[in-house]
């Protein structure tokens, strides 16, 4: 049963929606830049094309880790997605503490990129991967604080199902002052989790040529692209579950769900298209400074019941 859920929702549905999200992102970006943009099926075609390409391994690298790292990232993303979907479909059945598990699982794709970069035996990849690690450290602190706000609002439950059910009763947490502040912080953390501009220092195409992914080609690159596309769906999905009451899959609710998702996605896309890249130390100061303060303030507000 859980395996079926993993295959159908965790992998198939999530990757289809992820690829679609990636298309929306590319299309909107293109429109912002007065281009036409790719057709709907382009992200899928890209992945299929990469699967057919030759897989190159840099000489002197540790082959099994280099090729194994992308698997780890995909497994983390798929597992996180299936836990989220399980909660979406049956909010009553989730286990206590899946909030913690999901937060941990969401860092695994970053970790796999770091390990893959390290195994490439390429100084640029090492630099990029170390930046990715520092970025993880930076956003993790405000991210945890911000994600605690829904926990407080749902009566200190660290079960995602309870957080969803509490929102069905009392309305989305984003309706509160603390909720909207925390969601803002969460949104910027997601930007960094996806390594999108302005937090794309790990990949910085113009300086370190895609950083950790520089040596990847063919299947390995296809896996990373697929994982990244899936994360482009999973992270907004998590945010929507935490602050916007999740999806509803019946009647007009579907349209409303799509609107929620596209809204979050559009925000991410607009941020990435209207900001310049920051240096990694600037990103660190940004997250450990203002973002942590805002997250802490929203948490205090949440404890006061606002």
């Amino acid at each position: 049963m859980i395996l079926l859920n993993l295959l159908v929702f965790g992998f198939l549905v999530t990757s289809i929606l992820g690829l679609t999200a990636s298309w929306v992102d590319r299309k909107v970006t293109a429109r912002v830049q007065y281009r036409v943009g790719p057709p709907f099926y382009q992200p899928l075609v890209d992945i299929i094309k990469l699967l057919g390409k030759e897989t190159l391994v840099p000489t002197g690298s540790y082959r099994s880790v280099f090729l194994g790292a992308p698997l780890l990232g995909l497994a983390g993303a798929v597992t996180a997605a299936s836990v989220l979907w399980m909660n979406q479909i049956h909010p009553q059945t989730g286990f206590t503490g899946d909030w913690i598990v999901v937060i941990y699982l969401l860092t695994i794709p970053s970790m796999s990129i770091i390990i893959g970069g390290f195994a490439s035996r390429n100084p640029l990849a090492s630099l990029g991967a170390s930046r990715e690690m520092k970025l993880v450290l930076s956003y993790e602190l405000p991210f945890i604080l911000a994600m605690l706000v829904p926990v407080v609002h749902s009566g200190l439950s660290i079960r995602l199902g309870d957080i969803l059910l509490a929102q069905r009763e009392a309305g989305a947490f984003a309706g509160n002052l603390s909720g909207i502040l925390a969601m803002l912080v969460g949104l910027l953390c997601i930007q960094a989790k996806l390594a999108l501009v302005p937090f794309d220092a790990p990949e910085a195409e113009t300086e370190i040529v895609h950083g950790p992914l520089i040596e990847y080609s063919g299947t390995g690159l296809a896996m990373y692209k697929l994982t990244k596309n899936m994360m482009l769906f999973i992270l907004p999905f998590f945010l929507i579950q935490m602050f916007l009451g999740g999806f509803s899959l019946a009647g007009w609710g579907i349209l409303w769900s799509v609107l929620k998702f596209v809204g979050v996605l559009a925000l991410i896309t607009v941020i990435r298209n209207t900001n310049p890249r920051v240096r990694i130390d600037q990103a660190m100061r940004f997250f450990w400074g203002p973002m942590t303060v805002i997250a802490a303030v929203s948490l205090i507000l949440a404890l006061l019941g606002l």
Partner: protein, 565 residues
């Protein structure tokens, strides 16, 4: 007191938890001896080395099973001495200083423990009972509710010995020093495993059996734990020696155990004890892997290592598993116990808002741990090989001897087993009497089904791989904008300075600076204070006649004033 009376006392108690701890102590003894057979080969005084190792095990078992407090304190004292003697087998120039430091910190807290015992004696029997009362104090008969200054002092004095043994702040500084100087098997044996078992087990027993804590003391423990987690892991991130870096993690992880015990609720305590056992497994695995690296490369300086994954794949694999465990990545064992501790922290939410700080510190601590292990993995195993490594790899084919590899592999497998089957462990039965009765948990992390999910995810990835072209690969030179990597050794990134950015962040930089000047080292601060006092006292008698005449005159005046008054 006659001899019969002595034997009629309940000296030992054999609880399931004590048996479990004893089994772990025995396991680590066996693994360390196997490891030492190769690692310590050819060193001087090996008979004494093995003798001390056996004695340590015997005394440890004594402390674990002891019910009588006096007996426990006596055995505990000898363990400090054995620690000192075992550190002495190190071969670095700073070994004697490190051994002295460890002896002073551990011995000093032993004295505090004795004082704590005296206070317990006073609290139970009041003034006027003789030694017979002291010998009768035991965990099973004495229960003291913490109320008022004396009982708090007694608890804190006893706890300080436990914290020093386990290496928690503020008595932690001997652990990183020792990790750097003592032989690896000794580090894997004492601060990484047995001392954790002793210290945390003792802390759990005094917090839960001997005393009845109130929530304030619980908060003190949780604060100590959180500070330990964060400060030690921050220090670990910027280290450039593999052993010292691991030493700071041995400190940082104790924070989780102290934090868990401080929560005072069943799941938190259970998590703390489970984390203690998990810690002993992954930490000795990590130290032993560092030992295997040291044995073949003759150094643990991160600048001079790199690219070892190809030379020692087994050590790399085990190190990788243990790193993921210590960083709390699901489904390994570190995650299972940290998860329980997080639950415990949220369970204390009734006592005010402080739980947010502890929870954030604990979760953030995990992320920082992961970061510093990523750095280690890069600098030692995955990154580009240093000239030093290349030279050794060319002259000899460095492998890992069986005696070194076997314990490392066993421990890595245990990391996986304890993580995957964490939901099958009967905590309620195993962890009595510290947990009275069957504890009520708010739910357990279903580790087995989560593992199946993750494995299925990996399998899916494999399928995608098979769809693609990963079966046949071609090897090409790495692309660095057209430069030739092998022709330019200066382009190598060792990874040692990955996190120097952290030092640039404003308030942290100052703290790092203070830590480097050892303002947080209780031993160094103590030495400075002693120097200061000594300076005053030695100023009193500097050998000059005039000064002594002055003292004589002052004495006469004082006597005169006393007599006429």
């Amino acid at each position: 007191m006659s001899l019969e009376n002595l034997f009629s006392l309940d000296l030992f108690s054999f609880s399931p938890l004590a048996w479990l701890a004893a089994a772990f102590a025995g396991l680590f003894f066996i693994l360390v001896v196997i490891y030492s057979l190769n690692f310590m080969k050819g060193r001087k005084g090996l008979f004494r080395y093995y003798l001390y190792t056996v004695l340590t095990l015997v005394l440890t078992l004594g402390v674990i099973f002891a019910d009588n407090l006096l007996l426990l304190v006596i055995l505990w004292g000898f363990l400090g001495l054995l620690l000192y003697l075992l550190i002495g087998f190190g071969r670095t120039p700073s070994t004697p200083a490190t051994a002295r430091k460890a002896l002073l910190i551990v011995g000093g807290t032993d004295a505090m423990m004795l004082l704590g015992l005296a206070l317990v004696w006073f609290l139970v029997y009041g003034p006027g009972t003789g030694l017979s009362g002291l010998a009768k104090l035991s965990f099973s008969t004495v229960t003291i509710p913490v109320a008022g200054g004396l009982s708090v002092a007694a608890f804190l004095l006893l706890a300080s010995a436990a914290l020093a043994k386990a290496g928690a702040m503020p008595f932690h500084t001997w652990v990183p020093d020792m990790a750097e100087d003592a032989p690896i098997p000794v580090t894997a044996y004492l601060p990484a495993s047995l001392d954790k078992l002793l210290g945390v087990f003792f802390l759990a027993r005094i917090s839960l059996e001997l005393f009845i804590l109130d929530s304030t003391l619980g908060i003190v423990l949780m604060a100590l734990g959180s500070i330990t987690i964060m400060a030690a892991v921050m220090m670990a991130m910027v280290q450039h020696d593999m052993k010292r870096l691991l030493g700071y993690h041995a400190v940082s992880q104790v924070g989780y155990m102290v934090l868990g015990i401080g929560t005072g609720n069943p799941i938190g305590i259970c998590g703390a004890l489970f984390h203690m056992f998990n810690h002993t497994i992954y930490k000795s695995c990590l130290f032993m892997a560092a030992g295997a690296v040291e044995k073949s490369m003759n150094t643990t300086d991160l600048h001079r290592l790199g690219g070892l994954a190809k030379l020692m794949p087994l050590v790399f694999g085990a190190f990788f598993v243990a790193s993921l465990s210590i960083s709390g990545v699901p489904p390994f064992n570190g995650f299972a116990s940290k998860w329980m501790i997080y639950q415990g922290i949220i369970g204390t939410a009734g006592n005010g808002w402080t739980w947010i700080i502890w929870l954030t510190a604990a979760m953030m601590g995990s992320a920082l741990t992961l970061a510093s292990f990523m750095k280690l993995i890069h600098a030692v195993f995955l990154g580009q090989a240093s000239p030093h490594v290349t030279k050794i790899a060319e002259s000899s084919r460095p492998g890992t001897p069986f005696a070194l590899a076997a314990p490392i592999a066993v421990l890595a497998v245990l990391c996986i087993l304890f993580g995957v089957f964490a939901d099958r462990i009967p905590f309620g039965e195993l962890f009595s009497p510290v947990l009275a009765g069957e504890p009520v948990f708010p739910g357990l992390w279903s580790s087995t089904s989560a593992t199946i999910l993750i494995l299925a995810g990996l399998f899916l990835g494999m399928v995608v791989y098979l769809l693609g072209s990963a079966g046949k690969t071609r090897s090409v030179a790495p692309f660095i904008g057209g430069e030739d990597l092998d022709a330019r050794p200066s382009m190598r990134v060792s990874g040692v300075d990955f996190y120097s950015t952290v030092k640039d962040v404003k308030p942290l930089g100052v703290l790092f600076d203070w830590a480097e000047r050892k303002h947080f080292d209780c031993y160094v601060v103590g030495l400075r204070f002693a120097d200061f006092l000594g300076g005053i006292l030695s100023g009193l008698h500097n050998g000059l006649l005039g000064r002594y005449v002055l003292w004589c005159l002052a004495g006469v005046v004082a006597l005169y004033l006393a007599l006429i008054g």
